[in-house]
Every structure is written in C-alpha cells, then in structure tokens.
C-alpha cells in the first residue's frame, strides 16, 4: 500500500555528545524530507531499487527513505566522517531498517555503472573561506557545513561524477542556499546532462534554502 507521508525517524538514541561530531538534523535536513514527501507519488511510480545518500550525517534522511519505501529499495549511505557512519548505522537499526553504510568521499567508492535510482545530498553549503574546507578535514562537524568559496566547493566536486552514477531514470535531490548561486548550479548541471527544478524553498533565519530535483535530460517526468 502506498504511503502518503514520510515519518521522521526517531533520533532519541543520539545525544548531545554525538552531535559534537555529527550534524544534528536541522531545517535543511527537514526541508529535504519534506521535498521527498511532496514527491512520494512520483517516487512510488518510479519505484527506485537503489537509493544513495551522500553525506548521511545522523542518517535521518536515509532511514526515512528506507522506512517509507520498504523492502522495494536498497539504501546505501556514504559519509566522509566515521562518526556519522556509526550514527547512520545506529539510526537505521533503532528505526528497524537496514541501510548499508560506507565511509568514503562523495561517490568515489562507487562504480560508475549508472545504477543509482534515487540520490539525495544535503551538502556542506555554507560559504566559508577556502582554507576552512581544508582545515576542517580535522574537524568532522565543520566538514558537514563548510562549503568554501560560494559554499560550492563540495557540491561542485560531486556534479561531474553524477552522470556515471545516476541511472537513466534516476532522480537527484540536493539542498542548497540562494548564496550558492542556484541559477549557475543549474547551468553546470545542464551542461552535464541534467534538467533541474527548484521543488521546495524555505527562508530560515537569513538562509534561503532550496531543494533542487534533477534528472537526466533524456528522462521525461511522465
């Protein structure tokens, strides 16, 4: 039976101490979940079998997807932060779903065989000096939000890898903020073969958050 809602998974197993090293779900995380919920009918029509979250953090989004889509989908999560990998593992377990977690950088550990049907990404998008992206290699939590120049340094590394990872009818959802220059992001994606739409937006405390939904040019939404 199709679901109409995405329930927010329980995070009660994670404490203040965990959130020293792992990104605590915030408005950006929930906006992504809301965008996926809005598209639930579309997702259920598409029937993804392989889902990937890049930068899963606490695991809240991957777990929500796994719970909602159930045994019809295999969920993979990747995070560069080892603490986030453990947290994702725990969150999945505490919420009764199975997710495989990989400690890795973006999609680099994955074969480029266009296998991913649903890819979600809440990137480090906050504009910071470039050096903060480098030094944050030692600080797991900073790495979760420090996006460097125009907040684009991490997401710009993912985009060129997408064509070989996303399935022909795959969907890619990403969180960004207005300061990341969303129109230019869309241009970059278009040049790589993707059409994109802002499917959700929210103004939160000085940040204008958006969720972009992307699919290959060759794919129509019907």
């Amino acid at each position: 039976m199709p679901s109409f809602k995405i329930e927010t998974p329980s995070l009660s197993h994670l404490s203040h101490e965990d959130y020293i090293n792992v990104y605590e779900p915030a408005e950006d995380s929930f906006l992504l979940l809301d965008a996926l919920e809005d598209d639930l009918e579309l997702l259920q029509q598409r029937r993804p079998v392989l889902c990937l979250e890049v930068g899963s953090g606490s695991g809240v989004v991957t777990t929500a997807i796994a719970r909602t889509l159930g045994a019809e989908v295999f969920c993979l999560a990747i995070d560069i932060n080892q603490a986030a990998c453990s947290a994702t593992n725990c969150t999945a377990k505490e919420n009764g779903v199975k997710v495989d977690v990989i400690n890795g950088d973006l999609v680099t550990p994955l074969r480029g065989v266009c296998a991913v049907d649903l890819l979600v990404f809440n990137p480090p998008y906050v504009p910071t000096p470039h050096c903060e992206v480098i030094t944050s290699l030692e600080e797991p939590l900073t790495r979760a939000w420090a996006g460097g120049e125009r907040g684009r340094e991490v997401m710009d590394r993912l985009f060129p890898l997408l064509p070989e990872v996303l399935a022909p009818q795959g969907l890619f959802y990403m969180v960004a903020i207005e300061n990341n220059d969303v129109p230019q992001i869309r241009e970059v994606l278009s040049a790589l073969g993707f059409q994109s739409h802002v499917v959700k937006q929210r103004r939160v405390r000085g940040e204008h958050l958006v969720v972009l939904r992307c699919q290959k040019h060759s794919d129509s939404l019907e």
Binding site: V49, E72, V73, Q82, S86, N89, V101, L110, R111
Partner: protein, 124 residues
C-alpha cells in the same frame, strides 16, 4: 557490508588503479540473517549487478550456496532462483574484515559492517 554493496564498490579513485574492481574480500566476521524477500526488488536489481563478481565474491567467502555461476534466462519468473539471489545479496553481511584492491593490493578495512574507502593524500 552486504554483498550487494560489495558489488558496487571500486578502488578506481586510487592513483595508478585502472579498474579497481572487483575488490577481494577477507572476511573475519560474517553475519547471516533473514530479511524480507521481495521478488520485484531482486528482479530489478539483477540488471545493475556484475553477476560474475557477485558469484565470485559469495564463493570466496563460502556463501554462494547453490547460486548458479551463470545468470539464467527468464529469472524474473523463477522464484526459487530469486530467493537464492536474495539470500546472497542481502542476507550475508561482512561485519569485520578487509576489502582488497585487485591491482594495488591496498586493503580497505571493514569494521562494524562499514567499509572504510577513504584514501590518503598520497593515494589520490
């Protein structure tokens, strides 16, 4: 790490590695569990797999069971076959061990079911 995940992994991002696939498996702790079988899911994931690599990986850790080495035709309608595939893909987990790059021999540790595919600066 399930064998489905293993089928998707590569060490190709390493400097000097051309293919980086399939990764060898050294399994120290394996967990076998029962998970919900969904025939649609299995039918639809098969085209995304490297079948040969799947069979070899399962065989290398002694869990290929009676999974055929060749992918049979018309598998979508063969529930018995799909169940065997389901078992190998989703019910066998490497909890602790290592993945091994087939070209460089570089080892990637697996701990608590999580493979660490991060590379050092000098390997990029």
């Amino acid at each position: 790490m399930k064998l489905l995940t293993h089928n998707m992994l590569t060490s190709k991002c390493m400097k000097g590695v051309t293919v980086g696939y399939p990764l060898g498996i050294v399994a120290k702790d394996i967990k076998v569990s029962e998970t919900e079988f969904n025939s649609e899911f299995v039918s639809r994931i098969i085209p995304k797999l490297d079948w040969n690599a799947l069979w070899k990986a399962a065989d290398s850790i002694g869990h290929s069971g009676d999974l055929p080495q060749q992918l049979m035709e018309d598998y979508e309608n063969n529930e018995e076959f799909l169940k065997k595939v389901h078992h190998v893909l989703l019910e066998v987990e490497i909890i602790n061990g290592e993945l091994v790059c087939p070209e460089s021999g570089r080892k990637f540790p697996i701990s608590q079911g999580i493979p660490n595919m991060l590379l050092n600066e000098d390997e990029l």
